[in-house]
């Protein structure tokens, strides 16, 4: 018989080690569907590793993919730390991209050092404002933000489609539902010639650092942690709980909006309704894998990006469907959630028979 007993103290090494093991376990479990697909398992994993890390091009693709995941991961991590369950990063990403396109596709013309901060500000404000709605519904009316943020994703996506079919449709777009391109002045420059990785990555890394400082060093972070861990005691101790939720909502939404700006102005150049292959939702996995640590988000985002990019390349080489990437991501989330059990509890094997007298057990 197995019993679970709560651990008193969770060591920090353990907290780092467990998600790493979870990631490895997820990759190992992926061997089952790969071999079921009839491919050579060892070759498949080598192809994945090469696809993700094997060349400057591969690493560039990996980092370009990690960029939005870092930002949506941070959006989820900040909100979840306060137990504000923002499932709406996907929608916030799209309104951020929409705002960036609205400002940056010719409406204003100015040099890059004005245009780039301008579209960033527009995107962050749009994302933050969108998240403000469910946050206020939660604090004022007690509406469950899981439901409201999730449903807003669909509202936003339909709104974006409407805009792309209507007012924001590119007249030069050959009839495709896409926006006008971001002007050259508002485009985030590429970091290296002929590679797709762009300055959005630097913005994402700086964001991670700022969020890390806010969460660990500032009064805000203190209040966010206290509110998330025990809202009742926080309120009793005079922490402005409602204001804290609003701040968290704004920051979380703004980070997701920034992900949209980075994608549209750094990578795609114009907005379409398939800008994001679920970066908002994958950000939740990233945040959970990172244990809600802002710096951990960077590592987790790179891992998840490597899985996606590596699996893409592997599927081309081995004729295994690239859905395998989604499978590994899903498996790693499950492994992390299960491993959370091992972080918080320790497992004891108890013999069901009667214990002999004076027989000491280990542990």
């Amino acid at each position: 018989m197995i019993r679970f007993e709560p651990r008193e103290n969770v060591s920090s090494t353990y907290a780092v080690l467990v998600p790493v093991i979870a990631g490895i376990a997820a990759l190992a479990l992926a061997a089952i569907p790969i071999s079921a697909a009839g491919a050579d398992v060892q070759g498949a994993f080598i192809a994945m590793a090469k696809g993700a890390f094997g060349s400057p091009f591969a690493i560039s693709e990996l980092l370009a993919r990690a960029t939005p995941l870092i930002l949506t991961g941070l959006a989820a991590a900040v909100a979840f730390k306060a137990k504000l369950w923002n499932i709406g990063a996907e929608g916030q990403l799209y309104v951020g991209a929409l705002a960036a396109v609205a400002v940056g596709s010719g409406a204003i013309s100015a040099p890059p050092y004005i245009m780039i901060p301008l579209i960033i500000a527009a995107g962050m404000m749009a994302g933050g404002t969108l998240m403000l709605v469910p946050t206020l519904l939660k604090t004022k009316l007690g509406a469950d933000e899981v439901v409201t943020t999730l449903l807003l994703n669909f509202v936003v996506l339909l709104f974006v489609q409407m805009m792309l079919e209507g007012p924001m449709k590119d007249p030069m777009g050959m009839g495709w539902p896409q926006s006008e391109p971001i002007s050259a002045a508002a485009t985030l420059p590429k970091m290296f010639p002929r590679l797709r990785v762009h300055w959005g990555l630097v913005i994402a890394l700086v964001s991670a650092l700022i969020v890390f400082i806010i969460m660990t060093r500032s009064v805000w972070g203190f209040e966010i942690r206290a509110t998330g861990e025990n809202v009742s005691a926080a309120r009793h101790a005079g922490i402005p709980v409602t204001a804290t939720y609003v701040k968290v909502g704004l920051v979380s939404g703004a980070l997701a909006g920034l992900a949209g700006v980075s994608e549209v102005a750094g990578l795609k150049g114009y907005l379409t309704a398939d800008l994001s292959p679920g970066f908002g939702y994958t950000g939740i996995v990233v945040a959970m894998l990172a244990g809600l640590s802002p710096l951990g988000v960077v590592a987790a985002a790179i891992f998840i990006a490597a899985v996606f990019v590596g699996a893409d390349s592997m599927s081309r080489a081995m004729s295994v469907s690239n859905y395998i990437a989604d499978l590994i991501v899903a498996l790693s989330l499950l492994c992390v959630l299960v491993s959370g059990l091992f972080v918080r509890f320790k497992m004891r094997f108890v013999r069901p028979k009667l214990p002999k007298k004076k027989e000491a057990e280990e542990f």
Partner: protein, 520 residues
């Protein structure tokens, strides 16, 4: 009274034997080589401080935990002594062990009858026979003296009635061994008396009873034998008749304890005034409550929980507003905002210290500064001054003797007494004008309780007005300069403690008019 049972002591049957039970949680030894016997017709008190291992021991008995060493032997229904299967609550139930937990395990949305029958009917039986169950319960109520309306939903029952349902639940399952965990913690003195009368009746019928307690008075008054548990070990197992209060207290703590003595206060001018305050809803509603508190005095508010104290606490803590009437502090209206109340010098010691007092997963240091985190002492430009926070924490840990691995330890890992010391340090060190202490020693051991009492008297002597909300009459009489009673949202006028006696206050807590004139 207890001696009737002892006469037949020689022939008493052994019902239960705990044999060298040891239980470890990591490095912590919760129970060490504990042996205890229980005979038919016997009432055993298990006395010990919080954290002494009483509850762990009973959880092993009931199969919630598995002992690392040792075994439990029970007389089975067939009459033979058998080893109880460890880690199996159903085995304990089958063997006739009934447990009444401190926190009741009743489904609030079901009636008393349904709660009692719950789990005894086979899943395949279809409808259960209410009339049969009712007949059995009626007989049980007659023989035990436990009267309760079985058809009322549990959520509508008072605490004492819920406890009776719990006991009936155990008896319905033909329990022959009844374990009660801190049974009087939530009862008025009168209710406690009637509970012990019931326990005596049950013992006379041949049941073996273990009650867990840390109150010396009830242990001395109502048990045949007392086992004292200290740091997981049985340090004494004695006939109650040869024990006295001081001896048990010393055994329990391991060294002599002094209780805090109140000296006459030196009250100043009234500074907190409640005038015709109405607030809250339902059981916790306040109905035209008026009170005036002077500086340098302690007013004790006696009353069973759930009579409006929660609303009063929220009002004074700045978490709720009045519907009518007014609360003023030094002539100014009390703000309905926790942070503003703290700034005006209100120290709040909440009733539920785990839920409202501390953020368990934050560090001890964080919890020590949480009320003052925005003050320039602890932050500059919105960034935390970790050095200052650490120094403050180290000073408080030293001054209040908070036992913890260090300022960075998670507050959740501390014992109840040390958690309360965190709350005391962070509130009282701000030199408050008003101290609101709600059940400040509930669940604390003798040593920690004395510490809390000393701190409250110190605050009073510094010139603070203290509002002490408590169910514990000993505590109220020990600390209060004046005592008022709260019942169903009504507050009686405070009366100097010297002019009151405990039984009169006990009656008022139960909503009855005391016969004596001076207490009215």
């Amino acid at each position: 009274m207890a001696h009737e049972n002892q006469e037949s002591g020689a022939e008493r049957d052994l019902l239960l034997a705990l044999d060298s039970i040891t239980k470890r949680f990591g490095d912590l030894i919760a129970n060490k080589d504990v042996s205890l016997e229980l005979h038919s017709g016997e009432i055993v008190a298990l006395l010990g401080e919080n954290g002494a291992g009483k509850t762990t021991l009973m959880n092993i008995l009931f199969g919630h935990y598995v002992a690392d060493e040792g075994a439990v032997t029970v007389r089975s229904r067939s009459g033979a002594l058998e080893v109880l299967e460890p880690g199996a609550p159903h085995a304990a139930l089958d063997a006739g062990i009934g447990m009444v937990h401190q926190h009741f395990t009743l489904a609030e949305n079901l009636s008393g009858l349904e709660n009692i029958v719950l789990g005894t009917e086979s899943l395949w039986a279809g409808r259960f026979s209410r009339s049969k169950a009712r007949a059995k319960l009626k007989k049980l109520m007659e023989t035990s003296g436990l009267e309760v309306d079985l058809d009322v939903r549990v959520s509508r029952l008072a605490v004492g009635e819920r406890q009776r349902v719990e006991i009936l639940k155990a008896l319905y399952r033909d329990a022959r061994i009844l374990v009660l965990d801190e049974p009087t913690a939530v009862l008025t003195p009168q209710e406690s008396e009637s509970l012990f009368a019931t326990i005596k009746k049950l013992a006379a019928q041949g049941l073996g009873i273990i009650f867990i307690s840390h109150k010396m008075v009830e242990v001395l008054g109502h048990s045949d034998r007392v086992a004292v548990l200290r740091s997981g070990e049985i340090v004494a197992d004695l006939e109650t008749s040869i024990c006295n209060r001081q001896m048990l207290a010393d055994l329990m703590v391991g060294h002599s304890v002094e209780t805090v003595q109140r000296t006459p206060g030196n009250p100043g001018k009234p500074f907190l005034r409640l005038q015709e305050v109405c607030a809250g809803e339902g059981r916790e509603a306040l109905d035209h409550v008026s009170l005036s508190l002077r500086r340098g005095e302690i007013i004790g508010l006696a009353g069973v929980s759930g009579n409006g104290q929660a609303t009063l606490q929220k009002l004074i803590s700045g978490l709720q507003t009045v519907t009518s009437g007014s609360i003023t502090l030094e002539g100014k209206p009390l703000p309905a905002k926790a942070s503003a109340a703290i700034k005006q010098g209100v120290a709040r010691i909440p009733e539920d210290r785990h839920h409202d007092g501390i953020v368990g997963s934050l560090s001890v240091a964080s919890n020590l500064v949480i009320e003052e985190i925005r003050r320039p002492a602890y932050q500059r430009f919105g960034l935390l001054r970790y050095g200052a926070i650490k120094r403050r924490a180290e000073a408080a840990i030293k001054a209040y003797d908070i036992r913890c691995p260090g300022p960075r330890a998670r507050a959740r890992l501390l014992s109840g007494g040390n958690i309360q010391k965190i709350v005391l340090a962070r509130t009282l060190d701000q030199h408050p004008a008003l101290v609101l202490a709600a059940q400040p020693s509930r669940g604390l051991d003798v040593g920690a309780t004395a510490d809390v009492h000393r701190r409250l008297l110190e605050a009073r002597d510094r010139g603070a007005g203290v509002l002490l909300i408590s169910e514990d009459l000993d505590e109220l009489f020990q600390l209060s300069d004046r005592i008022a009673v709260i019942h169903r949202g009504h507050l009686s006028a405070p009366v100097p403690t010297e002019a009151l006696d405990k039984s009169a206050v006990g009656l008022m807590m139960a909503g009855l008019e005391p016969k004596k004139e001076e207490a009215a």
